[in-house]
């Protein structure tokens, strides 16, 4: 991930979600893209000089009582570049980074209504984790 790739990442996210979140993405880049430490990763898929997708994650230690594991916070592929294995390669790349950082378990969390991305993670071998997300009105 280079600073020059950020506009393409923002464009993919805007196209997929319908909301441009430039300030948010600049913050994400500062924390994950510019940082090469602490197991943080912000990777982009380069398809002939064009950013076709991205994935972001980091290793977190003892969060939710769990031994260190890799968390995937975001993954997306340009709708025009889907069904070509881009997401699979992005996930494989970030998993390789997690292994290099010494962890062997990868987790993610997303809305149960997000059937497209849930199906993708399922197709990659992910199963339900031994955690239950909860919420309440504060």
């Amino acid at each position: 991930m280079r600073a020059a790739d950020l506009d393409a990442v923002i464009a993919i996210d805007t196209r997929v979600t319908g909301i441009e979140k430039r300030a948010y993405w600049q913050g994400v880049y500062k924390r994950y893209g510019a940082s090469r430490s602490e197991g943080r990763q912000f990777l982009v898929a380069d398809a002939g000089g064009v950013v076709a997708g991205f994935v972001i994650g980091e290793v977190r230690d003892w969060e939710f009582g769990s031994p260190p594991c890799g968390w995937v916070f975001a993954i997306d592929v340009d709708p025009d570049a889907r069904q070509a294995g881009v997401g699979t390669r992005l996930l494989a790349a970030i998993c390789a980074g997690f292994r290099a950082a010494g962890v062997t378990k990868v987790r993610t969390m997303l809305s149960r209504d997000n059937r497209l991305i849930l199906s993708f993670f399922r197709s990659q071998g992910m199963m339900a984790a031994p955690f239950i997300p909860l919420e309440m009105d504060a």
């Binding site: 149960r112 059937r115 849930l118 199906s119 399922r122 197709s123």
Partner: protein
């Protein structure tokens, strides 16, 4: 979580067909493998054929073969051909309108939501990979 007998039979059958989409498989072969009545299985296969999930092949070596897209068809798609899994159960039972009954309904709906999200996001292609893992 328990699926009805027909639903389980349908899932067994569909996964057998999807594992080798070009091959015709005789209903008797599936009945034998899963130890079910051929007559019962015939009804299930007929429903799957009506829905376009499988197609019957006539003649010598006939049977059924897969006719859907394993990367698109989900477990929920198959389940819903045989049981109503997507809607609320509208049957009224004694106690439903009490505070305890309503609280219980809220918890049961939470469980159902999770089950639906699980079945709706596991395609047959993904399920076949899980099956492979269980062969090892």
């Amino acid at each position: 979580m328990k699926l009805q007998k027909n639903t389980r039979l349908a899932l067994y059958s569909v996964l057998e067909f999807a594992a080798d989409p070009a091959r015709h498989i005789a209903a008797s072969s599936i009945a034998e493998r899963y130890d079910v009545s051929p007559h019962h299985l015939a009804k299930v296969l007929s429903e799957l054929a009506r829905a376009g999930v499988v197609e019957s092949v006539r003649g010598v070596g006939g049977g059924y073969r897969f006719a859907a897209n394993a990367r698109r068809l989900t477990l929920l798609d198959v389940i819903q051909l045989f049981e109503d899994f997507d809607g609320r159960d509208e049957r009224r039972e004694g106690g439903d309108d009490t505070p305890v009954g309503r609280a219980l309904a809220t918890v049961l709906e939470e469980v159902d939501e999770m089950a639906r999200a699980t079945f709706a996001t596991i395609t047959l292609a993904t399920m076949l990979r899980i099956v492979e893992r269980h062969r090892k």
